[in-house]
């Protein structure tokens, strides 16, 4: 953990706050404490919200929960739907699923990954990567590369639209759909629906490969910058299948340390409380999970694309695995930890999800009609875990004899990444802010690091009009020296 989490003498330092002012809860804020010589002493990313999620769920009938949890997040409702439904399969006594039901759920999940990754890369990440923000030489190189990808924006929107179409077809609606229910699925895929998706999937695979090509070319222009920006040497965690390959939908938990060494492997995620501990800190509403046996100081970890493709032994689709090997070669056998590398990893995952979706669309089981599992004994407690687009997502429930939820614990991807995000921002601040005048451009570096993780700022809410960032400069006594609004 960085020494920049808590300053030794904060009262003598001036404070810079980067505060997105939204009309609802769920905003993040970065505070930076600097001394009179612009040396950084303390950096913290505060994400408020996440309060009330569990209370929103508790007291509801268990069969209602998979639908209810979709209201938690407007960006990844499918992730919450699937994690909750996996838990409720067990509560209701419906395991294992039928082959068709599991494959439809996987296809739904891959559609969610494609649309979420496309949205993030083409709308949020590519402007940072393409515009550059470091050197004039770098900017000139980047302009040349951007010219070679003129259709980037259109491809991004169409890729996102394709992922949404998978969700619409399987869940029944563009929003407020269900699809997955405890025990299986409530709607079969028709031949016409399958053919419609199959007709477009090869184009999505091609665009995913082009996106990877773009990121790789950009990385080659300034490798040290792209590899080191926002670097935080984190442990890494993700789900893997029995063979050690990445599995977005189901598997055992694996964690590696910052050098790639094994911490734990193939852990049954229903026992997550035996390996992970959630701490609270007085300055943030969001919890700080860590690997219990390593303690809070050393046990914090990273989840999501950058962790997943380095925790696993392989990706099961050939094109994505080949791209993963190219990525890994950059590290010369050691894991990579730069925040901007999330974007490269994210595009490799988008390709992987698209290839997996194509394989499922070619699988005859996907058109099966046997959607519900046989029912076995009911349980009172269960855990559902998936790899959501932003990382590992835990849903844990207890249900009483009246079928009402009595306990709910969610660890969302952003919570898993809480310490890692803080460390990346500290790395950026330490490298780019120390000893220099604070400018809008420098503060943008902080935003770039935040964007790399794309934290879920809770969610299912939005802001009409602008979502400005407000930068406040205060002296050691807390008096406002200046304020800068952005966006």
């Amino acid at each position: 953990m960085s020494a920049l989490e808590t300053a030794a003498e904060p009262a003598s330092l001036r404070r810079i706050a980067i505060d997105p002012v939204t009309r609802v809860e769920g905003h993040g804020k970065v505070t930076i404490l600097m001394d009179a010589d612009n040396r950084v002493h303390q950096v913290r990313l505060h994400i408020v919200e996440f309060r009330g999620f569990e209370a929103f769920i508790e007291g509801r009938p268990y069969w209602e929960v998979p639908v209810t949890v979709q209201r938690l997040c407007g960006i990844c409702p499918v992730s919450h739907l699937l994690a909750a439904t996996k838990a409720m399969d067990i509560i209701a006594g419906y395991v294992p699923l039928t082959p068709t039901a599991e494959k439809l759920r996987r296809l739904l999940h891959y559609g969610q990954l494609v649309q979420s990754h496309a949205l993030h890369f083409f709308h949020l990440a590519s402007p940072d990567l393409l515009l550059g923000f470091e050197s004039e030489v770098g900017k000139r190189n980047i302009v040349g590369i951007a010219a070679a990808f003129p259709d980037l924006a259109r491809q991004g929107v169409m890729t996102r639209k394709f992922g949404q179409e998978i969700i619409r077809v399987i869940a029944g609606k563009r929003i407020h759909g269900t699809g997955a229910i405890p025990g299986g699925m409530n709607k079969a895929l028709t031949q016409a629906e399958r053919d419609g998706l199959r007709a477009d999937i090869d184009g999505i695979i091609d665009w995913s490969r082009e996106a990877i090509d773009l990121v790789q070319k950009l990385q080659e222009t300034q490798p040290d910058f792209y590899n080191r920006f926002g670097e935080s040497r984190a442990n890494m965690m993700g789900l893997v299948d029995a063979n050690g390959a990445l599995d977005f939908y189901h598997g055992g938990l694996r964690a590696r340390d910052a050098n790639g060494g094994e911490i734990f492997d193939h852990v049954d995620y229903s026992t997550y409380k035996s390996i992970l501990q959630e701490d609270i800190k007085p300055w943030s509403y969001m919890k700080f999970p860590h690997i219990k046996t390593w303690g809070a100081e050393r046990g914090w970890y990273r989840v999501g694309p950058l962790a997943r493709i380095q925790v696993c032994d392989s990706l099961t689709t050939p094109l994505a695995e080949a791209e993963r090997q190219v990525f890994l070669a950059v590290g010369n056998g050691m894991p990579l930890h730069g925040a901007l590398l999330y974007h490269w990893a994210r595009m490799i995952e988008m390709l992987h999800a698209a290839e997996l979706a194509r394989d499922l669309l070619d699988d005859p089981d996907i058109l099966g009609k046997h959607l519900m599992a046989d029912r076995g004994p009911r349980r009172e407690e269960a855990v559902g875990v998936i790899e959501a687009p932003r990382g590992t997502l835990f849903h844990h429930y207890r249900v009483d004899e009246n079928d009402l939820v009595t306990y709910c614990n969610l660890i969302v991807s952003t919570t898993n990444n809480n310490q890692a995000m803080n460390e990346s921002i500290r790395a950026v601040a330490a490298r780019h802010l120390t000893g220099r005048e604070v400018t809008e451009g420098l503060l943008n570096h902080i935003e770039v690091a935040i964007r790399a993780y794309d934290p879920c700022l809770s969610c299912a809410t939005h802001a009409l009009g602008q979502m400005p960032l407000e930068v406040e400069l205060l002296d050691a006594e807390g008096a406002l020296l200046s304020r800068l609004r952005k966006n």
């Binding site: 009330g52 409702p77 979420s116 929107v157 009409l464 009009g465």
Partner: protein, 155 residues
């Protein structure tokens, strides 16, 4: 005039549901040449929904909006925020320009002031009143379906 109406928000967050509730009234009214689109949030693919439209109307709730609502014309805006979890209607218009290479159709935003946005809450009493006021205003707009007239009513 072919009109696309986008209403968004989360009905499980109190007055955040004002957008979807108004949108459903457009659906129920079944005016000709009106396409109603509901979502949790605006996203980049909503730019595609504007193709072929003569005008667009974005409907949402807002916390700092003047009560009972504000109606204004909006223009494309470019540039990233720090998260994918919010996209402004102006940014949707910006995406339209990026992918189509031409100006988007005239677009307007109707923002209804909300008071309470807590998870699990229903509409506030003020929100319920403003829903009716905003709907009366929408019916007036739809009686004059010429965006030049709408421009005159925008602030």
């Amino acid at each position: 005039m072919k009109l696309v109406v986008l209403g968004w928000g989360n009905e499980s967050r109190g007055d955040d549901g004002l957008g979807p509730l108004l949108l459903r009234r457009f659906e129920a009214a079944a005016w000709p040449d009106v396409t109603a689109i509901e979502d949790y949030q605006l996203q980049i693919e909503h730019a595609l929904d504007l193709e072929g439209a003569d005008a667009a109307l974005f409907i949402d709730a807002g916390r700092d909006t003047p009560a009972p609502f504000a109606f204004r014309e909006i223009a494309p805006r470019f540039g990233a925020t720090h998260t994918t979890h919010a996209l402004a209607p102006e940014s949707v218009l910006g995406v339209y320009v990026q992918i189509k290479g031409v100006a988007p159709p005239p677009a307007f935003a109707l923002c209804v002031r909300g008071e309470s946005f807590g998870l699990g809450e229903g509409l506030s009493s003020e929100g319920a009143i403003r829903l009716e006021q905003a709907w009366d205003f929408c019916r007036e707009l739809m009686a004059e379906r010429f965006f030049a007239v709408w421009r005159g009513r925008a602030v």
